[in-house]
Symmetry: C2
Subunit: 347 residues, 2 copies
């Protein structure tokens, strides 16, 4: 590996000058600087970030911890973070926790040793505890909040998104609206659930525990919950389903197909989080769409700008708006026609 000393020798200056020429060019005479840069180019010199970081006590690296890289939502988040980091010349360490608090803990410990400048994390339910491992590390939580004091969050308007979705179903004439909610120790699930309850309450529809089933955010959980809800006796069976995340929505749709129930004629479905899958399935899914890429990008920008400003940023909480995309999976319930929406049919 060619080192700074090699460059110094070739350029006939001291190592200190080379360092300056590279890091604070204005402190070096133009001629010398040119000579040094030329030498560096010639040798293909690349600073050893390990040495630099060790000395500077600051590393231009970030940690990114997500819970499920196979979920396109998280992959998109990662891309947003990655792009923002690269824009500012930061390098990112990637960790994937599979929603497992222990993996999160290990990730945090591994990360710690690399002295990253900041952390972007989609917290598991134990994050509040785990984050104590990195007490001084500037942190931004994405998508959900662990409730850790002093930590910034960038999230979407989950309550509003849920409200819009449920309101839409109510306006179509639905009264028995089921919800497949996520784990209630994760803030997104809590908030989406809250939006659901509030909207029902506003419309004067009583909340029924029977119609709300929790799931662990996985496809299979969505499937099971949907199966349970849709095999209730006809007079209790929901006529519409609001599903709390993308993976569970997939499961729910599969369950509906297994049961031979027609969407939207016999059941309306709204999912949370858009995806290609949602847009191209048949019938295309009505969803609450999140600005996922922006979420990641903005979270990273927020973190980096607070770093460059030096002072510890205020523990702000950013909320991004969601949008509601009406496609083909929602319609008035059976025997209820108000002409609001006609389902289309492919040729």
């Amino acid at each position: 590996m060619v080192s700074l000393d090699d460059v110094a020798k070739l350029a006939q200056v001291s190592p200190a000058t080379v360092s300056r020429a590279l890091s604070r060019p204005e402190m070096v005479a133009e001629a010398t600087r040119e000579r040094i840069l030329q030498a560096a180019r010639e040798l293909g010199y690349q600073p050893n970030q390990l040495a630099r970081s060790l000395r500077r006590r600051s590393s231009r690296t970030l940690g990114l911890i997500i819970t499920d890289i196979l979920n396109p939502f998280h992959a998109t988040l990662a891309k947003g973070v990655q792009d923002a980091a690269e824009k500012h010349n930061y390098t990112v360490f990637l960790f994937n926790t599979d929603e497992d608090p222990e993996k999160e803990q290990r990730a945090l410990n591994a990360l710690r040793g690399h002295l990253p400048q900041g952390l972007l994390i989609v917290p598991t339910p134990k994050a509040k505890e785990n984050l104590k491992l990195v007490p001084k590390l500037p942190t931004v939580e994405l998508d959900r909040s662990s409730g850790t004091p002093g930590v910034r969050t960038v999230m979407v308007d989950n309550v509003g998104g849920a409200r819009t979705a449920v309101q839409h179903l109510i306006e179509l004439g639905h009264r028995r609206i089921g919800m497949i909610v996520g784990r209630l120790d994760i803030s997104t699930a809590v908030e989406r659930h809250l939006g659901y309850r509030e909207t029902l309450a506003t419309a004067g529809i009583p909340y029924s525990e029977k119609l709300v089933l929790p799931g662990n955010h996985r496809e299979e959980d969505g499937r099971k919950a949907a199966l349970a809800l849709l095999t209730l006796p006809p007079e209790e069976r929901p006529t519409a389903l609001f599903v709390g995340n993308n993976e569970m929505t997939v499961g729910a749709v599969l369950a509906v197909r297994e049961l031979g129930i027609r969407i939207p004629q016999e059941l309306s479905i709204v999912g949370f989080d858009d995806s290609r899958w949602a847009a191209t399935m048949h019938p295309a899914l009505t969803v609450v769409a999140q600005p996922t890429y922006e979420l990641g990008f903005l979270a990273c920008e927020t973190l980096l700008s607070s770093l460059s400003r030096g002072q510890p940023a205020l523990p702000t909480s950013i909320r991004l708006d969601v949008s509601f995309i009406v496609r083909e999976s929602t319609a008035p319930p059976d025997g209820f026609t108000n002409g609001l929406k006609q389902q289309r049919r492919k040729p």
Copy 2:
């Protein structure tokens, strides 16, 4: 940050002994070791990897460069790599090139400074050139090969997969089989194309350039290519389509829908690479499925095992088998009935 010296003081030994107790425990007396470990635990000591790596000239980090994290295929690859790396206590730097050789170059340069022990890369077409930036770095290429000498590769049997797919279509009675091939400067595309040609030749079907359109691996390219192929005059129009990657398959299916062509009655489609989307779209897609996760995992294992063995591994090339999943998107061509396959219909 608590350092090794702090632990040394608390345990009343020299820093060197602490270092040994942590890195080569067998070189330290049991009692001392216990005392040191206890002290380390007490202080929540975490070794500074920067200092350690600088000194050791070796870092327990890996670089992972993929071309499109938004593509589930690549996300799955990343998870495989990640899991294998974590298993061996390696940390990974993630880069995403968007198939852009310049981004690849920047990624490689950034990586270089962090002195990773190895590199896992899905190479862009310019990788052969770019990899010269890291001449000594043990490298494994995933999914495709850049043709760089001395670099190991882990790929799937693209030729075989393509053969199976095309053979399947031929057996169904198709004679005009179109292919949407990827960029021919990417090895996977070349190989899948080769399998296609060979199989046609074996079956005595003449190769027609008109039926083979290139695409840039993106959804939109698949859409355009399909549009072009399917608007050929009826007697030239392919009755079946073999699409070279997952993203382009999505585009092709969308194009088919736009044109109001029915799958599989009027057109059979086979895609390369399975996905949830392929399995749940209607009609479900017949595909060549790849062991994607295993590809990533194995590539990383291969790399790490060569690292631990010390000697520079032989530039081996590993091929994984693909499997062929027949679902609902393939059937005999119009007016050709051989009873091999009946299309199902959802209720």
